[in-house]
Structure formats: structure tokens, C-alpha cells
């Protein structure tokens, strides 16, 4: 069975950029969230294998989502895709349990490399 994917970003373009970078097997069933609150709600309702997460968002930001996932002990793999590329932010999200940090705009090859690394391709 293919992996289930959730993409969380407040930008429509950024969500599409991630969708377009995914292989058909993952993109065809991917679900979308426009802020962290929506993502946490979806994560509480169903199991996802993979979450692509933006950091700078209204309502609940990416850090809030990572903390929520940790608090609820959810087992989703989180790939952070962010414009905020400060080294401190990268180490912060990795400490909060993210599997990878990718800078925006997302590069397809790099994304696939990380998907391969976790056997998600």
C-alpha cells in the first residue's frame, strides 16, 4: 500500500510545488492543510505516513504542529519545508522530531533523496 501524505502550507503555490515534486503514487492521494491547526485536526482523525510542513504560517505555525505531534505521540514522518533557513531553526525542528529540513523553493531531487532514505518512495 502506498504511503499517505499530508501537505501543510499557507501558500497555495508552495503546496502545489510539493505536490508536483512527489511521485504520482504519493501525490494522487495527498491531502492538504492551509495552516497548522488544520493539519493537527487531520492528524488526529487519521493516520498519515508523511507530513510536509511549512514553518511560518498563521493560526498555528510549524513549530506548534511539531509540538502537537510530540504531545499526542503521533508516528508521522515530518519533512519541514521552509523559507526560514537559519541554522538554529533547522536544529530546533530536528530536535522536535522532524526527519528532514528542506529549504524553499523545494528541489525535487533532494526531496526524492530524503524519501528514499526513509523508504517512502
Amino acid at each position: 500500500m502506498s504511503s499517505s501524505v499530508l501537505i501543510c502550507d499557507d501558500s497555495n503555490l508552495a503546496r502545489k510545488q510539493v505536490l508536483r515534486s512527489l511521485p504520482e503514487s504519493l501525490s494522487s492521494t495527498a491531502q492538504l492543510a492551509t495552516n497548522g491547526e488544520e493539519a493537527l485536526e487531520l492528524l488526529s482523525q487519521q493516520n498519515f505516513d508523511l507530513l510536509f510542513l511549512d514553518l511560518t504560517m498563521p493560526v498555528v505555525d510549524g513549530i506548534g504542529v511539531l509540538e502537537g505531534i510530540k504531545a499526542a505521540e503521533l508516528s508521522v514522518n515530518v519533512f519541514v519545508i521552509s523559507a526560514d533557513v537559519q541554522p538554529e531553526m533547522q536544529s530546533k525542528v530536528m530536535q522536535l522530531g522532524a526527519k528532514a529540513f528542506l529549504r524553499k523553493p523545494v528541489q525535487k531531487e533532494l526531496l526524492h533523496h530524503h524519501l528514499n532514505e526513509y523508504g517512502l518512495l
Binding site: 499557507d10 501558500s11 497555495n12 503555490l13 508552495a14 502545489k16 510545488q17 508536483r20 511560518t56 504560517m57 498563521p58 521552509s82 523559507a83 526560514d84 533557513v85 537559519q86 538554529e88 531553526m89 529549504r103 524553499k104 523553493p105
Partner: protein, 202 residues
């Protein structure tokens, strides 16, 4: 054409291009300051040419403005203004951690502005397949009239002003400034065309 009239999709695309550019500008700033910068989503608004001088005049206090020209291909050119309110410019020395005698406040403002402007525009340009060069940044005298005069006396005719409100939280306090990009209609047409190309690709 006096305005950059964008559809909701175009606006979303421009916002994302600016978010990415601002993220990298913040990273440069953070490295320069050797600290962590808390980043907010930058807000974008357009100011019409008639209202720009007026909106600067409305500020009762004097402001510090650093002006820097930028030049790319295909009619992309303009002037970037970084506008600081006094409470923010006064804090620059603390923020930058300079010793009192090391650099004048004026030099500090120019340093910081040039980092923000050039990093922001380099990243923005690379996303729209362009490349920028820059003139030397200048700090304008803080009187309202000299700033208005500067805006009116640009070497090129600018038709739109795009205002990007920048808010950074640095350690214990927040720091604000506005980046105003004055651009001619050729640049507006070019940016809109590139945005449409990006949108078509998705």
C-alpha cells in the same frame, strides 16, 4: 499602468516569492548579528505613486531612509528604500552589538540595510530567473522634504511602489522596518509575466 493588479493566484505566488526571499535575508541578518531572528510572515501592500510621498509625510517623526538602486535584465530595475522609525534606528547599535566608537549610527544603518536589500533582491531575482546588480546604498537626510525630493528625483520613472513590512523579533525586542520597492511599469509587466509562467507550470 500605475498599479500592479494581481489575481488571487498571482498575489499568492508573489507572496511566496517574497517569503522565500525574506527568509534568506533573515538568515543573513541572523548570521551577521550572530543571533536567532524570529520571522513573521511579511505583509505586502501597494502604495500608489501619488500616495507614497504623502504616506511618508504623515509620519510625524523623522524617519531614517536608506536608498539603494537595483538593476536586472528585461526592464527589471528600481530603487529599494528601507524606512526606519526612530525607535528602531536608535536601537540598531544595541542590535548590531557595535561598540560606541566603532562605527557611526549612520554606517550601521547602511550596513544592515544593504544586507537586507541585496540578499532579499538576489533571492527574489533568482526565483524569477533574473540577476541583480546594485548601486551603493545611501542614507538620506532625515527631513521629510529631502526624502520626498529623493523619491521624486529618481533617474527613472517609477510607476508602482511595493511595500513589504518587515518585522523581526531579535532576542528581547522586536525590530521593524519597511522595505519599499519603487519599480517602473516595465518591471511590473515582467514580474507579472514571470508569475504567470510559474503558475502555468503548476
Amino acid at each position: 499602468m500605475n498599479q500592479l493588479i494581481l489575481t488571487a493566484d498571482q498575489q499568492d505566488c508573489l507572496q511566496e516569492l517574497i517569503n522565500v526571499a525574506m527568509g534568506q535575508a533573515s538568515d543573513q541578518l541572523a548570521r551577521y548579528l550572530d543571533t536567532f531572528v524570529h520571522l513573521k510572515v511579511p505583509s505586502i501592500e501597494q502604495v500608489s505613486s501619488e500616495h507614497l510621498s504623502q504616506s511618508l509625510h504623515q509620519e510625524e517623526q523623522a524617519v531614517a531612509v536608506v536608498s539603494q538602486g537595483f538593476f536586472g535584465y528585461e526592464g527589471i530595475r528600481g530603487e529599494a528604500l528601507l524606512v526606519y522609525q526612530p525607535k528602531d534606528s536608535d536601537r540598531l547599535a544595541d542590535l548590531l552589538g557595535y561598540e560606541p566608537d566603532e562605527l557611526s549610527v549612520e554606517e550601521q544603518i547602511i550596513d544592515l540595510s544593504s544586507i537586507l536589500t541585496t540578499t532579499f533582491l538576489n533571492v527574489f531575482a533568482s526565483q524569477i530567473d533574473n540577476q541583480m546588480s546594485y548601486s551603493a546604498p545611501r542614507l538620506l537626510a532625515s527631513s521629510q522634504s529631502s526624502i520626498s525630493e529623493h523619491i521624486e528625483q529618481q533617474q527613472f520613472t517609477w510607476d508602482a511602489a511595493l511595500k513589504v513590512k518587515i518585522t523581526y523579533q531579535v532576542t528581547d525586542y522586536s525590530f521593524n522596518c519597511d522595505m519599499i520597492l519603487l519599480i517602473p511599469s516595465a518591471a511590473i509587466i515582467n514580474i507579472t509575466t514571470v508569475i504567470d509562467r510559474i503558475l502555468e507550470a503548476f
